[in-house]
Every structure is written in structure tokens, then in C-alpha cells.
Amino acid sequence: MKVKVVTKILEANDRLALENRKLFDKARVFVINLMSGPGAGKTSLLEKTLSSKTGLNIGVIEGDIAGSDDAERIERLGFPVVQINTGGACHLDANMINEVLDDLPLEGLDIVFIENVGNLVCPAEFKVGENIKVMILSIAEGHDKPLKYPLMFQESSALILNKMDLVPYTDVNIAKIRKDSLSLNPELKIFEVSCRTGQGIPEWLHWLKERAQKT
């Protein structure tokens, strides 16, 4: 006999994400799901952000397939950090976040960054309980990326174009990245940044503070 099921396959994850979100809201903490391909500069952007004396209390959840290098980089700056090893999984999901929430002093924090696994595809699919998604594209990855990996560009509130100091050494077309990204997502806020030189970091911090305060 035929029976209706009519369920979203990701429903269990979405439900857990909502639970996480309630815990974050209760602690009045603004949560950012930070995504990019491997090596685009997620941890570098966090280091720049944390060492900029923003006056904000920031915590970090580090997601990696293996290892704790990123968490150690954050810990050296004196900020609370938890490392998740996904053991092969290509993205963080709501359950993984739920399991480490007790390890962060949420009540004393203004912002939590969840640094997702380096991957331009899967992390955009899974809600983890964040307020917003922010993505990084390093310009050396090429200007074809928005149309090749549209979902992350569509889901993100801000796009950080990192490694802008390398522009003179590449053939990258920044105008095309901007145009295609905005076609996919007209609301997208774009920052041209170099974590190496500090270019664009003040603008990013200004926006970050504003978004965190508004919520």
C-alpha cells in the first residue's frame, strides 16, 4: 500500500538548528556561520577581527575535518574557542554545534563565529542555528566561482573578497565577481579585504558591529 510521507529530508537538522538558535537568542549572542573554500582565509579573518580591539566579546567554534591548528591560533589570542572535528564530514550540522554549546561561555559573549569546514558547496545547505551566513572568496580562486557555486553566494549576507593584495599578480576580474554575486543575491554586502595588509578590515568590522547590535 502507498503511504504519504511528505517530509523534508533535512527537517531533523532544521529542528535542531532552531533549538540552537533559541539558546543563542536567550544568551543574546549574535551568531555567524563563516564559510569558504579551503584556504580562502577564514581563520585569518577571525584573527584580524579578534585582534582589532573591537570591544566585543567574541567566541569561536572551529570546524575541521581533522586537527586543531585553527583552534590553537584562536586560543593564542585569548578568546574562548571550541574545536569540532567532523571526522570526514564535509560540513558542520546543527547536531555537532549542539554538542559543544556547553563548552562556550555563551552568556558573556556578544558574537560567536562558527568557522565551517573549508568547502564551497555543502556548508551552505545546513543550518546550524546562525543569525547570518558570511562567506569568503579569495580572489585567486577565480572570478568564475559565483556561477559555479551559486548556493553559498545566495545564502550569505556578506561576501568578503580576501587576498586583494594579490590582484596585481593575477588575471582575476573583480568586477565580474561583483556583478555575478549581486545578480545571484542583490542584498549581498561585499567587502574587498586583505587579511595580510589589513585593507578593508575597518569596513568589515564596522558592518559586523552594526549587524550584531541590530539583532
Binding site: 510521507v5 511528505v6 523534508k8 529530508i9 533535512l10 564530514a89 564535509c90 545547505e125
Partner: protein, 117 residues
């Protein structure tokens, strides 16, 4: 790329429904997968077949309906579908004032079950 975890969630959903309703065997499952969902049908079937043994769905065939990306243009009031995984312009009038209405589906629709094991 994460078809294995999607297959796991799918198996959990249908197994749970069988537990609740007392069905002993699933013969087939129909799901809808949007073309912009990032999930490849072949990989999903492969993953599902790999994990279904020993479960209530051990003999179940997974039927996948692929849903193209589609939208509605507010400028020319057209309902359209596209070949790509994204929409940049309305294919009819070229306008950018459209909403995407399909293509992100990851839904279980129904299944064929029986009471005998």
C-alpha cells in the same frame, strides 16, 4: 557531496514512520531532489543502498524525481524553468525581478509499504 548524510536522514525518516505505523517492509520510496540542492541522484542511491541493509528498507528501491530550477517573473508574470542551477534573468523578458520557486527540494514524498516482513 554529502549524499551519505542525506541518505542517513532519509532512512531515519522512513524507518520512524514504519515504527509508528507498524509497517514491516518498504518496497519503494519516492523522493524529490531539486537540481540546485547540490545532491546527485546517483550518489544518493549508491549511499542509500549501502546503508539500508538490515533495516526495514532493506529491499526498498529509491525513486528520485529531479526537479528543475524554476521561478516566477514579476515583470512579465511568467512562470519558467531553466537548465542551470541558478537564475540570473527571466528567460522571457530578461528582467531581474523574479522569485525562485523550485529547485532546492530535498523531500520525501511517499513510499510503498506492506505489513508483512
Amino acid at each position: 557531496m554529502h549524499e551519505a548524510s542525506i541518505a542517513g536522514s532519509l532512512l531515519e525518516i522512513v524507518s520512524e514512520q514504519c515504527r509508528k505505523s507498524g509497517y514491516r517492509r518498504i518496497d519503494s520510496i519516492n523522493v524529490k531532489i531539486g537540481r540546485a540542492s547540490g545532491i546527485m541522484s546517483d550518489a544518493l542511491i549508491f549511499a542509500f543502498d549501502a546503508i539500508k541493509s538490515g533495516s526495514v528498507a532493506k529491499d526498498a528501491v529509491l525513486n528520485i524525481e529531479s526537479v528543475p530550477v524554476g521561478g516566477h517573473c514579476r515583470d512579465c508574470n511568467t512562470v519558467f524553468t531553466v537548465e542551470e542551477e541558478y537564475v540570473l534573468n527571466c528567460p522571457r523578458c530578461g528582467g531581474v525581478s523574479f522569485s525562485v520557486t523550485s529547485g532546492r527540494e530535498l523531500d520525501v514524498v511517499d513510499m510503498e509499504v506492506s505489513d508483512e516482513g
